[in-house]
């Protein structure tokens, strides 16, 4: 270990000793999802109540969002997890542990201890929604304060960077990533090492690596989840990305308004700068690297890699023609790589443990894990990291806990340009290739679960309305195609469809596929084509005007010149 890193480690030890010097430590899991249910208020209540003998720590979500707000009590090497906490429950838990050494059972959903403390409450490891996970990128979830450098270092943070800078050449790091089989987690599943190898050879004095955290996909929150829970993992990965490709600058790209993740990652970047982990001579090496947050306005297409660069340059986020590819001419015409947050967040662990270790998880062509966001009609909505190759059924049952109402009818995966899957597809393994064969994409990892009450036509109408609203308008097949498709779907929903409507939809979809610059138009027909695969009968009933008219849907309107009557 180098001197500089050793010093940081020592500082971290002192810091942690002080943080945990009290016998009683209570961690409150905040984050966007927890705050939606009042986690902030609970945090403030506990901070007000706490005396010098108790430490209250704000940490990110552990992913069990169905139990939020969650607080975790650390006492005598044991951990007690309390779920669905209200202000008064938090006060009760606090009061109990202030005065007692024994276990407080009410509202506790799990505990961790070497001993058996309760026969009624399970150990955390006995919960399938925890034990079936394999947490690599999310290893620190629920454990540390987001953006706190020394808490991260105490968890062995930045050791991969230290190893890379002093024991490995940039090409070794690149080789390791290549060999790990890591593929892009943003949707396209492009081999990450290969992408990096396009950028590495360029001798340009300024080169960019960009982290795409735009994540406009409704139903997915794992990018923001990493940013707001463990941003240092991303910062470390991004520096490694820069080192491996001999790059000089980086941007973390995220949509304005998402203050919790933005603040967390800015704190992480600032603390990294203050401690010699960013800037000149990182950790005492010869490597210099700059990092900054870049905000975008509301635009879904800004998540497309060339549109993203337009947005960082301050323009309208519309996609560029390719070639030139970003590695040749990207941000401000400089060589550039763009990677998704999740992709980058795997890199520190890959460097730490080696590519062979990473390859040991997952399937042959989809190595490692997938971070899935389960939402909708499930017992246990949340964010879970699972080995690639788990079946959809396992994910829905073991992690999601099955339906919270009637039977599960269908899933919507991979964002609004992804697909709709029926029951026949539930044996599909979650990996990049099997998911696309089934007609959907794994994409960003969002899985929206619908029970029998949801009409498939209503769901596609919602997805197409989203795509219509978010089309950037640059390519007319996408701009008009989505508008036209939405019109046709509205007819279907109102039992006013015309005989050839299905054919018309197919024709529009096809034009969009061949006539659009980016995935937004190219994949725009996906929701309909995949739904047809599994729910042809139900859709045909609507096409034949034999189904009940659906209720009006409130969506923002965005008229376009040349909109069809």
């Amino acid at each position: 270990m180098t001197e500089k890193y050793l010093k940081l480690k020592d500082q971290a030890t002192v810091y942690i000793d002080k943080l945990y010097q009290n016998k009683l430590v209570i961690k409150v899991q905040t984050g966007t999802s927890g705050q939606a249910l009042g986690a902030d208020e609970i945090l403030n209540t506990l901070i007000t109540k706490a005396d010098k003998k108790t430490t209250i720590l704000e940490v990110g979500s552990m992913g069990f969002m169905y139990l939020e707000p969650i607080i975790v009590v650390y006492q005598n090497d044991n951990k007690f997890y309390y779920g669905n906490v209200t202000k008064s429950i938090a006060e009760d838990v606090f009061d109990h542990y202030q005065n007692n050494e024994n276990f407080y059972e009410e509202n506790c959903f799990a505990y961790e201890s070497d001993e058996t403390i309760s026969t009624k409450i399970p150990k955390l490891d006995d919960l399938p929604q925890f034990s079936k996970q394999l947490r690599i990128a999310t290893r620190n979830f629920g454990e540390i304060t987001p953006g706190d450098l020394f808490q991260y270092i105490a968890k062995d943070g930045y050791s991969a960077l230290n190893k890379a800078l002093f024991e490995m050449k940039p090409e070794d790091v690149l080789e390791e990533v290549k060999n790990s089989g890591l593929r892009g987690r943003g949707g396209a599943a492009f081999p990450t090492g290969l992408k990096w190898s396009f950028l590495a050879p360029s001798a340009a004095p300024v080169k960019y690596v960009l982290c795409n955290s735009e994540e406009g996909d409704p139903g997915a929150f794992n990018d923001k989840g990493i940013l707001e829970t463990d941003p240092h993992t991303l910062v470390e990965g991004l520096i490694l990305n820069g080192y491996a490709t001999n790059s000089t600058h980086s941007y973390v790209f995220i949509r304005q308004g998402h203050d919790i993740p933005i603040n967390a990652v800015e704190r992480a970047i600032k603390e990294a700068y203050n401690n010699g982990i960013l800037g000149k001579n990182i950790l005492g090496s010869n490597f210099n690297f700059e990092m900054e947050v870049s905000l975008t306005g509301d635009s879904y297409v800004a998540g497309e890699e060339t549109a993203l660069m337009e947005a960082i340059e301050g323009k309208r986020s519309t996609p560029r023609f390719k070639p030139p590819f970003p590695a040749a001419s990207g941000l401000w015409k400089k060589p550039t790589n763009i990677n998704n947050v999740k992709t980058i967040s795997y890199v520190p662990e890959i460097i730490k443990h080696g590519s062979e270790w990473f390859k040991g998880t997952g399937t042959e062509k989809s190595t490692g894990t997938a971070i899935v966001c389960l939402t909708g009609h499930l017992k246990r909505p949340g964010m879970y990291e699972i080995p690639m190759g788990m079946t959809i059924n396992e994910v829905l049952t073991d992690l999601g806990g099955g339906s919270n109402s009637s039977d599960i009818k269908m899933l919507q995966t991979g964002g609004p340009l992804g697909g709709v899957l029926g029951k026949d597809a539930f044996d599909t393994k979650i990996d990049f290739d099997e998911m696309s064969q089934a007609g959907a994409i794994l994409g960003s990892g969002g899985i929206i679960v619908c029970d029998e009450s949801v009409s498939v036509v209503d769901l596609i109408r919602n997805l197409v309305a989203f795509n219509q609203f978010e089309s950037c308008g640059k390519c007319f097949p996408c701009r008009l195609g989505n508008t036209h498709m939405l019109d046709v779907l509205e007819r279907l929903c109102n039992s006013k469809s015309k005989p050839d409507d299905l054919k018309l939809l197919e024709r529009i979809g096809n034009s969009m596929k061949i006539g659009s610059l980016c995935g937004h138009g190219q994949l725009g027909f996906n929701p309909i084509s995949s739904a047809l695969k599994y729910f042809e009968q139900e859709i045909m009933t609507a096409v034949n005007n034999n189904s009940e008219p659906l209720e009006k849907m409130y969506t923002p309107t965005r008229t376009r010149p040349g909109e069809l009557e």
Partner: protein, 160 residues
């Protein structure tokens, strides 16, 4: 409402200050507009002009950006903003009925301001707390697992 000269000059000074005091290093048309809207909650005409001057681009260049991103608005919003999510997860868990209820209680149709200017209603494609759907947000503060009663309470508080 037409502004008089001194008001306009005042707002220009404020805008110039906002543009030159951006906390992030990279300053662009978009970053400037975002910063202005962040403090003023809308983009007055002066914002477009001052951004063009500062970034050395044309007014058209700035308009092209300002008119593109859907978060920008050009009139002052109401005192409070209510974001309602219509994304697919919220959609299937009942957001449409709640949006309808919000319309009725606020006496507006679609997006926009209430007559008394107290509340601005906006449709959001995703607020990022999908596990707690349906989700509303009041002045950026999230409210999850919304129900008829919760919407009722929330709006009563806003319109009081």
């Amino acid at each position: 409402m037409p502004k008089n000269k001194s008001d306009s000059e005042k707002i220009r000074n404020t805008i110039r200050e906002i543009i030159s005091n951006q906390k992030r290093k990279t300053v662009t048309v978009l970053s400037s507009l975002l910063a202005i809207q962040d403090s003023l909650h809308y983009l007055p005409d002066e914002a477009i002009e001052e951004t063009a001057i500062h970034c050395k681009v044309t007014i058209n260049d700035v308009w092209s950006v300002a008119s593109f991103y859907t978060n920008f608005r050009f009139t002052p919003p109401g005192n409070n903003t209510l974001d309602v999510c219509w994304g697919p997860t919220c959609h299937i868990t009942g957001s449409q009925k709640l949006i309808g209820q919000a319309h009725a209680q606020l006496e507006i149709e679609g997006e926009g301001e209430t007559k008394d200017g107290k509340v601005t209603l906006r449709y959001s494609t995703c607020l990022g707390a999908c596990a707690q759907s349906p989700v509303f947000a009041v002045n950026h503060e999230m409210h999850g697992k919304m129900t008829k009663n919760k919407v009722d309470q929330l709006i009563n508080k806003l319109t009081k």
